[in-house]
Symmetry: C2
Subunit: 264 residues, 2 copies
Amino acid sequence: MKRSIEDTPIVFIGAGNLATNLAKALYRKGFRIVQVYSRTEESARTLAEEVEAEFTTHLEELNSFSRLYIVSLKDSAFEELLPSIVANKRKEALFVHTAGSIPMNIWEGRTEHYGVFYPMQTFSKQREVDFSEIPFFIEASTSEDAELLKAVAATLSERVYEADSEQRKSLHLAAVFTCNFTNHMYALAAELLKKYDLPFDVMLPLIDETARKVHQLEPKDAQTGPAIRYDANVIDNHLSMLADDPEMQKLYELISRSIHNRTN
Amino acid sequence: MKRSIEDTPIVFIGAGNLATNLAKALYRKGFRIVQVYSRTEESARTLAEEVEAEFTTHLEELNSFSRLYIVSLKDSAFEELLPSIVANKRKEALFVHTAGSIPMNIWEGRTEHYGVFYPMQTFSKQREVDFSEIPFFIEASTSEDAELLKAVAATLSERVYEADSEQRKSLHLAAVFTCNFTNHMYALAAELLKKYDLPFDVMLPLIDETARKVHQLEPKDAQTGPAIRYDANVIDNHLSMLADDPEMQKLYELISRSIHNRTN
């Protein structure tokens, strides 16, 4: 009987934002998620129920016969738990992590087949994302393992690339600026608007256009506003409006200076 | 003969990013743009041709008989040119500026009818924007003037609000965070990717999802990544990757700390 890629049994280790989104997407594509591990029973059970899997909160109870183990833990927890994760598994088992920041060689000497399966996106449990446009970056210990991971990723997305650990580290750093720091700018704007009793949703057209613009223009060519013109009147005025919040004032000043230094 | 709002003759003073986008949008809605002023002939002529208007580079040649004068100049130039702008016009002429940062009372004592016509968006000449979703904030010296400005804005957008100068100043400050500072985060990511020879467009799905998320979640609830978890391993690693660029390193550090301080 010919087996399809979706018959690959998968164990998820971790049930956080990324694991939840990825497990559900793979489940919907027909993959068999055999087990979900999480430190807390609630997280493990919640995700397991959504993908019709077993769950456990004990690493020694991990299914020993799965083909693919997808580890999606906080970077700090991962190193600590790694020995228990690989213990007592089949020789053919393929272990991957999903972290942009962790090099592949963390697996080296621990198990024979390993790799990285990094979907570069921001995941929250409260929100389902469209995987078809997410770039996946794959790295593996053997070319066969890489092919398997690419085939799994290709069921979800058309944008599947191989990237080594150095490249992935750079992508991850750029993604922190692109996503986390951008989102923090939204959060600071939301704080300001709340202070002045104005609704945040009035900003949404501006947020959307700022994002759309860089599909067409390079970010430095898309820049507008007082910092790039270095309009000292406006900048000084804004700094004085932020006088009661030294942290936000400092950020305003440094980012404005950086815009002026780098964009002109 | 009943006149429609589109018969209001308009003079544009300034031919920059905002003026160019606004004049073209009003022209397309059937407004008669009678004249465009700009300090440089090239800008004045380019926009004037696109909206079938006269152009001038001399403020003393401004059309004296127009109904509406829309001033869209750099904040610093505006104050200097204001006396020449209002000189020798009809008593009924309505003068507005388009700046979020300038209070309405800059007009006070200079002319009888005045106001502010602030479309809160990021405008670049190279890119046409969809005005229908742009919020317009209107302020005027009389309620009749406010009604006229609201009627003009309503031909372009369904989101027309009255806002006083204090509210507009706050919106503008929030918009600098939302748009200019966000765009700078994109620009810093683009620099990093260029350094590592990776294409910027791989970031676009992440940029789009980061923007879409805050349609559904509050920005602080949408946050992900190493700073909110305060994953010191990852943060230290990123800081050392930025060692050759102290400005970017400082920004990384301060924004990460601010995320951690404010989002938890």
